[in-house]
């Protein structure tokens, strides 16, 4: 097996296939040691209006310089709003990566695939490295690929729900069909679910809630890192197929008989 196994997004190469997020940490001081322990090289951030009187702890102060920032467009309800947030993030010095997140459904936080495609088409033209967060859909994935998206990020289950990869059958079709990386985002609640995504052939996973809300995010980051590596290694060894019947792993010749 070739030893080089990089994740390529845009023209950038990454060694880690675990993307992390900065939401929901009890203390932002935990972010640098979490990044260290998890080996994650890409981390998401969000942009918000400053409410009068609110504390303004700049999340960027907690992110080491070598980490690639992946600003998201959370809060956007339309393609236009997502495009505007992306432009602001880039002008503010966050680089060219953008995770498009357009959500109008506030109960399940389901992404709006149509608006997400529109925003992708615009932002790719503007030179962004676009990672769209979507409800898994094969036809849409082809369209995102055609539009020049750097990856597709299908959800496993609702954001922060820790339900794992409920959308597995569709994500498998997407992995089997498209050329650009598939990053399973949202709903991954345990390292075993991250490993499952990687064994399926996902190119990476994005984990925020499960790490950030753990009692020990630094150790959780390390656990997810191991799971992602194990899952990726297993995928690359081309695991044997499932069968209903047993296939003996020990010799079955008559022994001590007759």
């Amino acid at each position: 097996m070739e030893t080089s196994d990089k994740l390529i997004l845009g023209k950038r190469e990454f060694s880690s296939r675990l993307l992390t997020g900065t939401g929901k940490f009890a203390s932002n001081e935990l972010i640098p040691p979490m990044l260290e322990a998890s080996g994650s090289e890409i981390i998401t951030v969000a942009l918000r209006r400053i409410d009068q009187g609110a504390g303004d702890d700049n999340i960027l102060k907690h992110i080491p310089k070598q980490t690639t920032l992946l600003p998201n467009t959370s809060g956007a309800r339309t393609a236009e709003e997502a495009v505007r947030i992306a432009r602001i993030a880039r002008q503010a010095g966050c680089g060219d990566f953008i995770k498009i997140e357009v959500i109008t459904d506030m109960r399940y936080l389901m992404p709006d695939n149509q608006e997400t495609l529109k925003a992708t088409q615009i932002l790719v033209q503007e030179g962004f490295i676009v990672l769209p967060y979507v409800m898994p859909d094969l036809t849409l994935s082809y369209r995102l690929q055609d539009a020049g998206a750097a990856a597709v990020m299908p959800l496993g289950s609702p954001i922060g729900s820790n339900q794992g990869i409920l959308t597995r059958p569709i994500i498998e079709l997407i992995i089997d069909s498209i050329e650009i990386p598939v990053i399973v985002d949202a709903g991954i609640g345990k390292p075993s679910q991250a490993a499952e995504a990687m064994e399926m052939g996902a190119d990476a996973v994005l984990v925020n809630t499960a790490i950030a809300t753990s009692e020990d995010p630094v150790t959780a980051g390390a656990a997810f890192s191991m799971a992602v590596k194990a899952g990726r290694m297993a995928y690359r060894t081309e695991m044997g197929p499932e069968s209903i019947q047993a296939n003996a792993s020990s010799p079955l010749t008559g022994f001590l008989r007759g």
Binding site: G21, T22, G23, K24, F25, N28, T44, V45, A46, L47, R48, R49, I50, Q52, D56, D57, N58, I59, L60, K61, P71, N72, S74, R84, R87, I88, Q91, A92, C94, I159, G160, A186, L206, N208, T209, A212
Partner: protein, 65 residues
């Protein structure tokens, strides 16, 4: 003069972007300033006048997934 800050219409006396940040007691290092749909570098806040009818967004980067 009237300006729109973070979607809210406010009456303000003539001032610069930096005056606004100071007046609100914000840490300049944590503020992303969008002035009439253009992000303005902190270095230019002292010299950028706010005019009647301007739209300003005071933003900051926060945790998110």
């Amino acid at each position: 003069m009237e300006i729109k800050i973070n979607g809210e219409i406010l009456t303000l006396s003539p001032s610069t972007l930096m005056d606004l940040v100071r007046h609100r007691g914000l840490d300049p290092g944590s503020v992303v300033m969008e002035h009439n749909l253009k992000v303005i570098d902190q270095a230019a806040w002292e010299t950028t006048q706010i005019n009647h009818g301007d739209t300003i967004e005071l933003l900051s980067f926060v945790g998110g997934g």
